[in-house]
Chain length 203, copies 2
DNA sequence: TTCATCATTGAACGATTGGTCAATAACAAG
DNA sequence: CTTGTTATTGACCAATCGTTCAATGATGAA
C-alpha cells in the first residue's frame, strides 16, 4: 500500500540527507540501505528504486557532499589584508576553524578518502576535489612568493599551496580524533614562527 | 578432522599477519573472519578460538601494527647534523619518504583512525600512539627553538612538534590516495622556504 | 601403551545484507 | 470519471556475516 508521492527530485534529496546523517554519524561502512530508508522514513525498496544500487547511492552521496560543502571561500575580511603572509595565515586559521567545527563532515571525508583506495571512481573524485582545494590557495601563495622572493627562492606557487593544504589536512586528522583538545591557537603560534611572522592576526 | 597443531603463540602471529595482509589490502571493513582464515590457510573457527571475537581480533591487529611499526627512529646520520633546523628538515624528509613508501600501512592507520571515531578503545590507542609520535619530535624541536629563539618567539617545543606531526600527517593523506604523483622534493622545497632555509639537505 | 587435554575442523544457526518483484495506490492526462 | 503511468510498499531471496558446537585427532604426561 504505497504512501504519498513526492515531487521530482525532492525524494532524492531527502534520501541523500538521510544518507549523510547516517554516514557522518556511524561511518561509511555502517551505511545500510535499510538504515538510510529508516532515517528518511521510507521503505528500503524505494531507496533502491531512485538509486539503482547501494554503490550508486554512495557515489551520489559523495557528489552531494562535495557539491554542498564550501571548498574554499575567501571572504572580504581576508582579501582585504594587505600583507600576503598575513593573508595566508588568516586563511589557514579560518580553514582550521571551519574544519575543527565540523568533525562529522571531516570524518565522512576521510571515510571516502580511505574507500578511494580500492574504489577508482571515488578516488578520482576525491583527487579532483583536492586539486580544486589546492588550486584555490594558489593566488595567495603566488602573492606571498612575489612579496618575498628571496626567502622563498626556488619555491613554486604550486609547492607552497600543496604545503598549506597538507598542513590543513594534518590539522583535520588531529581534530577528527580529538576535537576537544585540538588547540588551534597553539598550531597557529608555531606556524607563525615557521613563517617568521610574530604578530598574530585574528579573524 | 583436525590438522597439525602449532606451538604456543605462533598461531596467533600467523593469524595476525594474515589479518594485516587482508586489512591493508582490502580495508578494515572488508576484514572478515573467513577471509583472514583463508589467507592463513586455517579454518574460520580456529581464528575465533584464539581471538574470542572479531572485535578482539581487530584490537589485537591494532596492537600488532603499533608494536611492529617503527614509531620514529632517529638514525645517526640525522642526529649528526649540526644545525637544528637542518636536522628537523632531514627528519621530516626521512619520515615523508618512509610513509610514502608504505601506502598500505598508511591506509590501515587511517582506517583505524576513522574507526576510532565510534570505537572508544581504538580511539584511545590511536591517540596514545600519536602522542608518542609527537613526543619523539620534541627534543629536536627544542633544539630548533633554542638555536633561534628570536624567530620562534612565543613558540613552545610542544607546538612546533605538533606542527611537524601535522605536516607529516597531511603528506601521508596525500601519498595514500596518490602515491605515484606524490612529489616529496616539491613539498620539502616549499618547507625549506617556510623555514627560511634555502640549502637542501639530502639524506 | 594409555589417557586426558585441547587445538582444529566442518557443519550448522540466526541475523543481516543488497537486491528483486508483484501488488497497489497516488497522481496526471484525457 | 476513466485510464495509464509510476512511485511506493512489503514480502521475499540468495549470499554472507559472526558465532557456536559436536566430533576428531594430534600431542604430551604418566
Amino acid at each position: 500500500m504505497p504512501g504519498q508521492k513526492a515531487s521530482e527530485g525532492a525524494r532524492q534529496i531527502q534520501i541523500l540527507k538521510a544518507a549523510f546523517e547516517v554516514a557522518s554519524r556511524k561511518g561509511l561502512d555502517a551505511l545500510t540501505v535499510r538504515l538510510v530508508a529508516r532515517r528518511a522514513k521510507l521503505s528500503a525498496g524505494l531507496v533502491l528504486f531512485h538509486f539503482k544500487t547501494k554503490d550508486q547511492l554512495i557515489i551520489a552521496l559523495l557528489d552531494y557532499v562535495l557539491r554542498t560543502t564550501t571548498v574554499l571561500y575567501i571572504t572580504d575580511d581576508i582579501s582585504d589584508i594587505a600583507d600576503p603572509l598575513d593573508r595566508l595565515l588568516a586563511l589557514l586559521r579560518k580553514e582550521m576553524n571551519r574544519l575543527a567545527s565540523e568533525p562529522r563532515l571531516i570524518r565522512l571525508f576521510f571515510d571516502f578518502w580511505s574507500k578511494g583506495f580500492t574504489h577508482p571512481l571515488i578516488r578520482t573524485k576525491m583527487q579532483a576535489e583536492l586539486d580544486r582545494y589546492r588550486e584555490a590557495f594558489r593566488p595567495i601563495a603566488h602573492d606571498v612568493l612575489r612579496a618575498e622572493p628571496e626567502r622563498f627562492a626556488g619555491v613554486t606557487p604550486e609547492g607552497l599551496s600543496a604545503v598549506a593544504v597538507s598542513f590543513i589536512k594534518g590539522c583535520a586528522v588531529q581534530s577528527m580524533i580529538d576535537p576537544e583538545n585540538f588547540d588551534i591557537d597553539e598550531y597557529l603560534a608555531a606556524t607563525n614562527g615557521l613563517l617568521g611572522q610574530l604578530a598574530s592576526q585574528p579573524v
